[in-house]
Symmetry: C2
Subunit: 300 residues, 2 copies
């Protein structure tokens, strides 16, 4: 089977389960409320997140192309996969972009011992003339998807990235899923996760402060997740100079003397893009446990 | 002498020196180029940063009040003090706000052993109905201002926040100023600092990738710093519901069980605000070294 990554296959069963249990709406009436030529508010009608977010980013791209900037809030949505997928679309349209989404409780706010914020990534993209600059940094020490995958595969997680339910550091993925993840940079990471909760949850009119349902474990209703896209056309400030300066920027940074153990300095998005290109023409082995899940789905 | 903090007095001599040496323009012709009713581009004509940034944030507030959002880029500016000062103005006008600024080289990009990025803070503000939510997180482990102050006062800096010029961890503030600071969360912090460099440097048409002059040490020309302000009126998406939901958000988070050593959970900006209120009616002792600098200025 050809496939560019494992995150989607590992989640496919969950999406199907949620549709069957009617907490994802497979035939949503997605409404786009145009607030101005720059600003839109989308009610996703509990659609699968991918569909709603794809409509959202395309709207944000259209708005920025027309007016120089776009602001699109999406409410009543669900888990949308990787933020970088949407950022890349905007960057390929020569725009700068922020993508924010909330997520089910995974990390404890600074000063608390219970999970509340999601892994709430900060995703930013910019055109470079070559491989897009795409920063997609979760505010947790490790992505929740990686812990889930380690749990599925019976693998350990690194030391110092998560606590068990009693507040002790654990390397056991299952215990980490029941406990809480640690934010990057203590109070700063906690503050950044809180910011993302406000932008994608409170501002969009979606769930927030720990009320986003876990798509794997909680079938009591739709997730009511929120996304926020901000797009900027760099030409409004510097015409065609933006790309010229971006190239200078990257080239100066890449020329810096390297730290021990580094042969080159990569900008955010470069490593992922290299891996993606390599993997495109390769078979990727899917772990038996996930393959069985996929085959079972097929049989249903 | 009454004073709410020490950062400004510690920098006053530098501002005066730069004006005397003609690398800050004390009589700038600041031009506001209106790109649309939401977007403005300001040429600060090498003004002192405070003045340019104050005009910038006021323009961003005006734009968001009129259209729902504002985007203001400032070029040819200088060091503008604390981002939170500008964020607070927007929040007091019931807006959400991002403030980005670049700064002289202080931290090494991930993979490099030489400083290039500034401490490039991520500053975000939101109204709460009470004390403003103001996150002002530098992407370095410690603020450069704190290292400068420690250096002036002959104090040590914490372990693990900076390297000397040979790449070794140091607690000596003077050695740290000649070496490089460490970014938060390794490659994630480095990526966030790079993002701020693009937004406030490349996008605004200002200095970037390590070309911002150090205001204390480099008098060879103006700093050509850039700032970017993004303002959003939350009413466009949720009317008066935003404040109601923000209150719920904060109240839920504050009620979480506390981690060991914590009596309460504070949101970003609360601690600073408490200190500010306490200090307003208190004398703050200014260290003799800084006081002498101020008196010397007075005598000139």
């Amino acid at each position: 089977m050809k496939c560019s990554g494992l995150l989607f296959p590992a989640r496919l069963k969950m999406y199907c389960d949620r549709i069957r249990k009617k907490v994802i709406n497979p035939k949503p009436k997605i409404k786009i409320k145009k607030i101005s030529s720059s600003i839109s508010h989308i009610d996703a009608d509990n659609s699968i997140g991918f569909v709603a977010a794809d409509i959202g980013i395309k709207e944000a791209i259209k708005n920025a192309k027309k007016t120089g900037m776009g602001l699109v809030a999406v409410k009543k949505s669900g888990h949308y996969g990787l933020s970088s997928f949407y950022a890349e679309q905007a960057v390929k349209n020569n725009l700068l972009v922020f993508c924010f989404t909330n997520a089910p409780a995974a990390i404890a706010p600074y000063g608390a011992k219970k999970s509340l914020f999601g892994t709430n990534p900060i995703c930013f993209g910019a055109p470079t003339g070559k491989t897009p600059f795409i920063l997609d940094a979760s505010t947790s020490m490790i992505n929740r998807g990686k812990i889930r995958r380690a749990s599925k595969l019976g693998q350990k997680i690194p030391y110092g990235v998560a606590l068990d339910k009693n507040g002790n550091i654990t390397t056991d993925a299952n215990k980490a899923l029941k406990g809480t993840q640690l934010p990057i940079a203590t109070f700063k990471g906690s503050g950044l996760a809180w910011m993302v909760d406000i932008l994608s949850g409170v501002l969009t009119g979606s769930s927030h402060s720990g009320k986003t349902k876990d798509p794997f474990d909680d079938f009591s209703g739709p997730q009511n997740m929120g996304h926020l896209f901000i797009t900027i056309n760099p030409k409004i400030f510097s015409g065609n100079n933006f790309l010229k300066e971006m190239k200078k920027n990257i080239s100066r940074i890449k020329k810096l003397p390297k730290a021990k153990g580094f042969k080159s300095i990569l900008y955010p998005g470069e490593r992922k893009n290299n891996t993606y290109r390599k993997n495109l023409n390769k078979d990727i082995s899917i772990p038996p446990k996930i393959l069985k899940e996929l085959n079972d789905l097929h049989d249903k």
